[in-house]
């Protein structure tokens, strides 16, 4: 904003407050990506917030009639992101989007979104109670663009019965999260156990270690397990760590060679995958906190007696046990009507109220965004939410908001896929990814 437009904005704001209040009709559209019926509170919380905002306005003597028009039935992330960006180009973007925090960098640069900090007081309730590290994930380039909508993290899972079959006592299985956190149980230990599980016939070949079937934040965790760093905090450049990348790829190649992971595992059908891990066909796997709810729907009603969870174990001495949180965020799109942006921002702030957010967290098996949510009965009474928060969230980091992170992540995964499927050796794959990243990322990359 120039000084001139600033003054105009001030005049407009003052005029808005001075003018006698007339009934104001406003429609706020909300689109949520990556959501299903369990995530309905991504939209419904905005509807509830609209009700509260209308009542607040009525008390002040204003009459606002807010219609919330929500949508979450997108075929997938690609379709959702295309719809939002093309809508933004055409000037028909929804007022509020619920999306990955990774979209903040490109969308803010393109001018599709406006900073939430321009409309609401970050020092006021409830935003001042949101975990600071989560707020940080919804910021980019020194500006608070969005508000975290949920949080989650991505645990490592063990099938208890298989672990017993391998000779672990109940106490040892219960102690696994601590063993992993202290670095005493590593990915290499897991691989050895998985190999034994296959050899002993506890699980079928290819089901010792049963990883995610498509690209996603999860694979960055394994890079971190082997000492990789995604971004250099000093310079803000992305980091390609050759040794960590090699070890990370080698681990998956070793898993294939040991017969514990299928060479053609990538691309396995998600429904098949969920059903198999929920019912003990795999010894070790990894997923997200929302898997808890999904396993129930897949027929596993007894999560606590069948499955153990921990951080993603460290891979070697250079690495660390870790987990990535990949929060979705509420973002406000740029609209011609400043008033619509303001209302949208206030709705987002109200929807962050601990009670409203907790409805989403528990219904969708996600984690809280604010400290105080742990004091609410609904949250603290939910064993999964409390334990997952305790075991995972403290060690969670996020992928960096960086314009080029998408290219980085795609290249890293395509190299992993090539090595994993045996179409390239680990060295070839690492060399090709390095060349690819050098060419596409240029100055945004540090090679170590």
């Amino acid at each position: 904003m120039t000084i001139l437009t600033r003054s105009t904005a001030i005049a407009a704001t003052l005029a808005a407050f001075a003018a006698p209040a007339l009934a104001e009709q406003i429609t706020i559209t909300v689109w949520a990506g990556g959501s299903n019926d369990n995530d309905s509170y991504r939209v419904e919380a905005i509807e509830m917030a609209a009700d509260i905002l209308e009542r607040e306005a009525a008390i002040r003597g204003e009459e606002i009639d807010i219609t919330v028009d929500g949508r979450w039935d997108f075929a997938g992330w690609d379709e959702f992101k295309q719809a939002v960006t093309l809508g933004a180009e055409a000037g028909t973007a929804p007022n509020i989007v619920v999306t990955s925090h990774l979209d903040i960098a490109p969308w803010s640069q393109a001018g599709y979104i406006v900073p939430v900090e321009d409309y609401v007081d970050l020092d006021a309730w409830p935003l001042n109670n949101v975990y600071p590290n989560l707020m940080e994930i919804a910021a980019f380039g020194g500006t608070q663009w969005g508000v975290p909508q949920d949080s989650e993290s991505r645990p490592f899972f063990f099938w208890r019965e298989t672990m017993s079959g391998l000779g672990y006592t109940e106490e040892q299985i219960d102690a696994l999260p601590d063993m992993v956190a202290s670095g005493d149980y590593t990915l290499r230990d897991m691989l050895a156990d998985a190999t034994r599980a296959v050899e002993m016939g506890l699980v079928e070949e290819g089901y010792g270690f049963y990883p995610r079937v498509s690209n996603g934040p999860d694979y960055a965790q394994f890079y971190q397990s082997f000492g990789g760093e995604l971004i250099d905090p000093e310079t803000g450049q992305l980091v390609f760590d050759r040794a960590a990348m090699t070890e990370f790829y080698q681990f998956f190649v070793d898993a294939v060679e040991a017969g514990v992971t299928r060479q053609n595992h990538i691309g396995t059908d998600w429904d098949q995958w969920y059903n198999e891990v929920a019912n003990g066909r795999a010894a070790f796997w990894h997923g997200g906190t929302w898997h808890f709810g999904r396993y129930g729907r897949e027929g596993n009603e007894d999560f606590w007696n069948t499955i153990q969870f921990s951080l993603i174990p460290a891979g070697n001495d250079a690495g660390r046990p870790n987990t990535i949180t990949h929060p979705l965020v509420y973002l406000l799109t740029d609209q011609d009507d400043d008033r619509a942006e303001e209302i949208a921002a206030r709705l987002v702030a109200i929807a962050t109220e601990p009670r409203l957010n907790t409805l989403h967290a528990i219904k969708s098996s996600h984690l809280a965004v604010a400290q105080v949510q742990q004091d609410l009965d609904l949250y603290s009474g939910d064993r999964w939410a409390s334990e997952a928060t305790e075991v995972l969230l403290a060690s969670a980091n996020a992928q960096p908001n960086h314009l080029q992170y998408g290219a980085f992540s795609e290249a890293m995964f395509s190299g992993l896929e090539s090595a994993w499927s045996g179409t390239q050796s680990v060295e070839e794959a690492v060399a090709e990814v390095e060349a690819q990243m050098r060419a596409t990322l240029g100055d945004d990359l540090i090679i170590r």
Partner: protein, 432 residues
């Protein structure tokens, strides 16, 4: 004259269709491919914006180190100019309190100044938006501010006292829109994956085409010799792959080949270990992809070739039988020679459509395992329209696509020469 107008009138819909659905997309692809267009640049132009994380890159773009330090340090300052604006917009009493207590103070972030305005002793600014607007009056920074036009950005640079010799470099660095560039093409040549995509595409097109034509011919000729009703039943069955929606068709292939699908179950009865017959190895993946696309193409070939065979006058075949020709000799010496034109047409059409088609591969293997079945068109799609991290590379994707367009046009020209097009459209010598 009237006749000519009538001709043009009849052609008009075709011309409109060609312009809308071929020339315009090609033109747009060409334009996009010479830009660095991506999600972050937007499509419809840009504005001027420097954010904190940009500061590190500025020296490399010719901005002096002093200016970078100045930009980094700037923020919000209680100055006379700001106080005068404050007095005008929010009242002299508030401005006076600020002057007395905070004159000359600087704040790195607007949030710090907002806190101060909320906590004024005398008449604090209670409304959030008013507080933000008031804080903005004291801005002495351009970092994080978005300017609609170059002029506005240059004014802001002057207002905040940035060294004029750095203005041009800053304007270039701050522009958020797309720019013209040929970097996409040099990047394509530099990337190690490009050659692999090209080889994959060549392999895919040649194998699928060979399967299409051969199998289409086989179906057409074999159904020709069947009784009409039976032939129609067979043709209808073989036409299914083409009329099924692609998603459903590929889903059926998935059920057929998955590791708990039909093949795996049946071979399992004979002790073959369960495996995914689509994704087990690159050979499996290619075989399935060629079959998936091949059956779709072959069904079209079957229809075209069947009707072409029907156009052959039956007396020729009767005569050959009188001369003692067997079925193979009829096919070899009568049917195939009359099929040059449909074979040419189908070869041209299928080459071009296979070069650009990727939907069946996307649905079946999505380029896997390990990008062994990633063909050129699929790579274009992935680059331009699919990225988990969010920044879609429209320009680079268009560069991929443009190369396909060029190859398509060159191939069409070559085919026309090779098959001697002029002779083929000459008056037919049979059928009179």
């Amino acid at each position: 004259m009237r006749v000519r107008l009538l001709g043009i009138g009849f052609l008009a819909p075709a011309l409109v269709a060609v312009s809308l659905f071929f020339l315009l997309p090609v033109l747009l692809t060409a334009v996009f491919s010479f830009t660095n267009m991506s999600t972050s640049t937007g499509i419809s132009g840009g504005e001027y914006l420097i954010i904190e994380t940009d500061l590190r890159d500025l020296p490399a773009q010719g901005v002096s180190a002093e200016t970078v330090v100045q930009l980094d340090a700037a923020g919000y300052a209680i100055t006379e100019v700001g106080l005068a604006r404050m007095a005008a917009a929010f009242g002299a009493d508030r401005a006076q309190e600020l002057r007395e207590d905070y004159f000359g103070d600087t704040f790195e972030a607007r949030r710090d100044l907002e806190r101060l305005l909320r906590d004024l002793d005398n008449n604090p600014i209670r409304n959030t938006r008013e507080r933000k607007a008031a804080a903005d009056l004291f801005a002495v920074t351009i970092v994080g501010e978005r300017y609609d036009t170059e002029a506005a950005f240059r004014d802001a640079l002057s207002d905040t006292g940035i060294d004029p010799s750095d203005h041009d470099a800053l304007v270039t660095a701050a522009y958020t829109g797309w720019i013209w560039t040929s970097d996409n093409f040099s990047l394509l040549f530099e990337l190690p994956s490009t050659l692999r995509y090209a080889l994959n595409t060549a392999f895919y097109v040649v194998c699928t085409l060979a399967f299409n034509i051969t199998f289409g011919l086989f179906l057409a000729i074999s159904t020709f010799y069947l009784p009409l009703k039976l032939a129609n039943v067979f043709r209808s069955i073989w036409f299914l792959p083409r009329i099924l929606p692609p998603v459903m068709y590929v889903l059926m292939w998935n059920w057929f080949t998955w590791d708990n699908g039909f093949i795996a179950t049946v071979t399992g009865w004979f002790g073959v270990p369960q495996q995914n017959w689509m994704m087990q190895t690159p050979t499996h993946a290619w075989t399935v992809i060629i079959l998936i696309n091949g059956f779709v193409g072959a069904s079209l070939g079957m229809i075209l070739f069947s009707s072409a065979i029907k156009a052959i006058p039956l007396p020729m075949l009767y005569a050959s039988e009188v001369d003692g020709a067997n079925r193979w000799q009829q096919v070899r010496y009568i049917i195939l020679p009359q099929m040059r034109w449909p074979i040419l047409f189908l070869t041209c059409y299928q080459t071009l459509s296979l070069l650009t088609s990727f939907e069946y591969i996307l649905l079946a293997t999505d380029g896997g395992p390990g990008s062994t079945t990633e063909v050129w068109a699929l790579a274009a799609y992935h680059t331009a329209l699919s990225n988990y991290g969010g920044n879609l590379q429209y320009g680079l994707g268009a560069a991929f696509a443009l190369i396909l367009v060029v190859i398509g046009i060159v191939l069409s020209a070559l085919y026309l020469r090779f098959f001697n097009f002029k002779e083929l459209v000459a008056k037919p010598r049979i059928e009179q």
